[in-house]
Amino acid sequence: MNDEQSLFGRQLPLTAGPANSSAQPAIVSVGQRKQCQRCHQWLLPTDQLPNQAWYCRQCLQLGRLTSQDKLYTIAEPNRFAQVTGPILTWPGKLSPMQGTAATAILDLVRQQRDQLLWAVTGAGKTEIVYPALAWALAQNWRVAWVSPRVDVCLELAPRLQQAFGHVPQTLLHGNQTAPYRYCQLTLCTTHQLLRFHAAFDWIIVDEVDAFPLATSPLLQTAIATAQKPTGSHLYLTATPGEQLQRQVRQKRLAVTYLPLRYHGVLLPQIAVRLIWRWRESLAKGKLAPKLVRQLQGYRRRGQRFLLFVPHVVDLKPVAQALQQAGIVGGLTVHAADDDRAAKVQAMRDQTVSFLITTTILERGVTFPDIAVVVLGGDDPVFSTAALVQIAGRVGRHHDFPTGEVTVYCHSQSRRVRLAQGMIARLNRQGKRLGGQRQ
């Protein structure tokens, strides 16, 4: 790969660029204020260095930009190698309902409209996008498939590799060691989009309501700037937030619904069980007998399960209490865990029988035949969207379309009620389409 290609549709700080590149200062003054040209955030008046240069703290993780730096770019030429062979090499088939949604998306892509695919957890969102993606690639479009979660990207990479076997693809994320390659299909985290500028004709944002994208103006701007002025985007989610739903109501965002899973069985409803002051008893190293009995039952039947707890600090006491109750053979996983990927893989390989985890595993992971238990579902970390996502871990596999979701709370909470309401609403819509009860 030459230097030129690495600049196509990108913005990089270099000491000197190729002849046909254009450069602009990394930090520009707009009136009294300074703006970073990579992340388009405003600098604070305190972000000045003793040598008088200004620097941006917002995108520091991608390498510091100061007012002495220049960003080099070459406008995206869409110069890709011809794809030899068929573009879509996916052997699977879409269900009739998935097919309808896929056609609707393809139509909207042709019109270059911004759109949202609102499909329940386990509907097969990824596969629904394949026909539209194949069409876009055939148009010689440059496409990015992005997600705020690196786990989602990592899980998606082999699937896209298999589905689009002849299309060169590249995977970018913060811990990636392989050098950048210029490819027609880019799979990356939303942070990596900050390095691009007017590059993509179509951006697919997977899990658009996930942390940190939903609350980060930085990442929302990143999607807007990485997209060509003529480009469009597709948001994928099972639980769109209030902001997205408003955009849909205002017709600024076209929407495609899919309220039924691909295997046609309705979503599992959340069962709430109350345990009085569980946090106090956990502090004494005890768990409620109800919960222990349920988990012991799962272990006896060989039913594998996920146990969600509100905070990282709760993992250890819960694990110890379970061990005391004779429930062994599981692992704890949290966001800063070094072995996170290995532990999740162990769960997939069925070498461990349960995981105790935080909201980090609320989405983007699929285990066949699993039950889900949430301890402390009334804690504020479990938002309505999070609870719906967590419930959506259950019954995703074709052969195991059912399962139990139990939420243990100290008291009834609005968020849990709303999550139940959302699931019930989707199930009502799903039933109209012919969904079957569990």
């Binding site: 305190t46 260095l49 003793p50 703290r57 520091l60």
Partner: protein
Amino acid sequence: MSQCLLCQQVLHPQMTLTQFWRWQPLPVPVVCPRCEQQFERITTMHCPQCGRQQTSMTVCHDCERWGDQQLRNHAVYTYNDAMKAYMQQYKFQGDYALRQVMMAPLTQALARQNYDVLVPIPVNQETWQTRGFNQVTGWLQNQPFQQALLVTADHKDQPQSAKTRQQRLLTQQPFSLAPNAAMVLAGKRILLLDDVYTTGRTLRHAATQIYLGGAKAVTSLTLAR
């Protein structure tokens, strides 16, 4: 709402009764208690020569190997993972705002030292250009200091932090005295200030030059050991 500089969590400062009765401006925290706990303070049980945290108060093995009495160093924190991560972001990524994290502890530590003139270890011209700041003077709030040392150019083919202990010990004298140094240093007790004490090579080189400038005594303070 202010955020922790290190983990971006929202800070909830709580006023203590003592602070209330003192009726003085409240200290504004810049890091959350959890991040602050990660840094490990060095207690009185340390090596009297290099300031290393240990279980006894005798001279440590590394200092015995030096076999000189040239330097007395104190350090504020141990060089643990949290401190390494901090240095990485502050020094090498160049996040100048992180200087605020260490301002208060360093001011306290300086107040406990006896000295006449404070001399921070300088950075070379190239580092100043790329990094944009001297990591040591960044921590100083209003303390007066004298830039009595200069870095003689191009001794650094690679940064000190990228070398092994053996390579570090072989480093040539990198410092020279500033033109006005003799005036500033003559007959004074000097405190050298640096970021990390690793082998002690840098500080010993600096101390040699300071003594040449006519100082009466040289001690040193580092943020980490």
